[in-house]
Symmetry: C2
Subunit: 429 residues, 2 copies
């Protein structure tokens, strides 16, 4: 029943090659359809290790892999580097910055963006961490601040240069705060002579009552203790009132810091709000249980783009494993429909398998929950390292990251302490 | 006779932490003086491997090392991240973008810049390769051109997108041309489906009669053959008349190429022309045989900043080993003067020890001359790899580069094929 001419095969367009879109493409069987995978970057980014690029532990190429390489050797699949401009659900077309694509099935997997919610003006002074460029910019900003502190005669200015405020106590905020504290205390302190980087302040500001609010309370408490042991000032119940250049205003007063990092909000890609469908406050699309859009069984939204309570009554979290499971679910479902030529009604509902959550804080410091197991400190840290190495795509990347971790562990050094991009014209940083 | 208060020690200012300045600082004995090393970057860059970052073989952190790390653990030495604004030889002061320094001895080691000689307007359309930012920009430009070719319907535009012109047949030009040809033929061809990157053209344009003009003629001929075998069009006796956006004008006609790279000229840092002293056409300072400036025995110029016929009658070439030897010579000489408190007259003249020259072209393709030995192909390539690994600074970097080379050799892959910096506002690229 398979048509001889591949151009007669149905066309599936996948927007985004993050965890969700890539898993869909990898799991979708060959020769059942033509696939076009569109991404604005040429690489798939291993987001969970992005903070290690920002904190000078890893090089950018260690955590990224060209999408073309990952998906090569499939004549039924094309990769397009392009920006998505619009989706016309009625006409079943996607408009790109260069050209347009008609689809039979569409998989929306564009992921999230840093969100400042009702305060977009904070972005200039408190950059977020979503892309490699963000990470390289944060690395430059922090390393430059220490360089400037070294020659700054005014003690108050010097203190501000050596203060880092991280807004948001979720996993990214915890990872950034813990790693920067460690960087200052163990790595940089041996390299500067006029300033003592060990006196640098890293302040983690969280609006709610505890860090890692999506974790069990005892792990939040443990994470707080581990952060304090690394020298991080943890401020909970401290919603941010305003951010201005070099200062963060809290109810309790003003923090002065040259480096302010925003890890407090993620929203879905803005395209979601242009479709005329229901979204939540973060712009995520309300999907029906099979992950398709209401009234559009040929369009799916997966990963950080979708909001759903799954068939077991669990709100699916915005984490990489959820996105991957969603990609696999949709691949299976669409492949079955194309094979049989019939649509199952109702289609199988998505169920999230929670294999656990973990967050790392620093050297031998982490928290993890796997099923009923909850653990902290060294065992959680070792588990975190192992899981992230296993899921990192590409043998070269696994080997390189493994060796850099061994190197950093043994030498208390970080291999990527470069300030690049200085030639670039001044921007928000 | 050593003063008890270190602040009473003489002050040596070293401008630039390239091969020359860094070698001076490393070779200068401890506790004889206060040293201040100034560089505009926070890292020492291993320039000979820079083209491998531009051609996506290595990550930026692999070939760079923080200057503070290299020189740490010396209480008599300070590192300053700063831009040099001016040197006042009469007042013995250096003005930086932030602050000023008075010196007893000054070592000028600011190195070279890409030079377009009388055509600075060519820079916009034909970027050069001197810094990590240059390398990342070139990598982005070439990878983006292939991405655009993939969706370009017009055959002429597609051809221009898939053409790379490298201007200048010295070692950098040969390395860039050979490696880009290899990248297109072995790596990218497996990843694109609409275009065939193996049909990409790489054109090496050299104004003189042969590539690698500083090498013996038979090695130039061998390099030319090896380049052609990799698919590079080698155009000799082809001086560039003009460069405009997307085209290079030669006497024989116009080459259309979206990527034009300039490897045809290096000039000394522009500071040299502000000192009121004699310089050559490339702005290099005429130094006296001990490497000091005429009339200023307390100021030395080393590396690409200086021009000299050494005491054996050999014009010292602008290569890393020469800069390192000059740094060591000046360190020895200044240390002896500070130890004895007397100036030897005349001071020992610098003599360049030529240990050989080599250039790599691609996989198993290189040329090398060591003393009377001249060799090409695989043995020269193996020698090139070995020498560069040995001289690369830092164990982590050596290991990482070694592994990437093994990986690339075995898999015909390149690990750093990332397009980053897309967020940056449009620049010359």
């Amino acid at each position: 029943m398979r048509p001889a001419d591949p151009s007669l095969l149905p066309h599936i367009v996948v927007l985004g090659a993050g965890f969700g879109g890539l898993t869909f493409a990898q799991r979708f069987p060959r020769r059942l359809a033509r696939l076009t995978v569109v991404d604005r970057q040429n690489h798939h980014l291993f987001q969970p290790l992005l903070y290690q690029v920002a904190t000078a532990g890893l090089a950018a190429p260690d955590i990224a892999q060209p999408i073309r390489s990952i998906l090569r050797g499939r004549p039924d699949l094309h990769v397009r580097l392009a920006e998505v401009r619009a989706v016309d659900l009625a006409a079943r077309t996607v408009t790109l910055d260069r050209g347009a694509l008609a689809y039979d099935y569409l998989v929306l997997a564009l992921g999230g963006r840093t969100s400042y919610f009702s305060h977009p003006e904070w972005e200039r002074d408190a950059p977020g961490l979503k892309t490699l460029d963000d990470a390289l910019r944060i690395r430059r900003r922090v390393l430059l601040a220490f360089e400037r502190a070294e020659t700054e005669p005014d003690p108050a200015r010097r203190e501000a240069l050596m203060t880092i405020v991280v807004v948001g106590g979720g996993p990214t905020g915890v990872e950034l705060a813990g790693t920067f504290a460690e960087l200052a205390r163990t790595v940089l302190r041996r390299d500067f002579d006029r300033i003592d980087p060990a006196t640098a302040r890293v302040i983690l500001v969280e609006g709610g009552p505890r860090v890692l609010p999506s974790f069990p309370p005892e792990l939040s408490a443990s994470a707080g203790r581990q952060l304090r042991r690394l020298g991080v000032d943890v401020c909970t119940d401290a919603p941010v009132r305003a951010i201005r250049e070099g200062e963060v205003e809290l109810a309790s007063g003003i923090l002065r810091a040259d480096t302010i990092l925003w890890a407090a909000g993620v929203a879905a890609h803005p395209l979601t709000r242009t479709l005329g469908l229901a979204t939540d406050r973060a712009g995520r699309l309300q999907v029906v249980p099979d992950l398709s859009l209401p009234g559009h069984p040929e369009v799916f939204a997966i990963g950080d783009l979708a909001t759903l309570v799954d068939r077991n009554g669990m709100a699916v979290p915005g984490v990489a494993p959820a996105a991957m499971q969603m990609g696999a679910h949709v691949a299976h479902l669409v492949a079955a429909e194309l094979r049989t030529g019939a649509r199952e009604t109702p289609r199988a509902a998505f169920a999230y398998r929670n294999r656990g959550i973990m967050a790392t804080i620093g050297r031998s410091a982490a928290v993890a929950q796997m099923g009923r197991l909850r653990f902290s400190g060294w065992p959680a840290w070792a588990a975190w390292l192992g899981v992230h190495l296993v899921f990192l795509i590409g043998f070269r990347n696994k080997l390189s990251v493994f060796l850099q971790w061994v190197y950093s562990y043994l030498t208390y050094q970080r291999g990527a302490r470069l300030i690049t991009g200085m030639d670039d014209p001044p921007r928000s940083d």
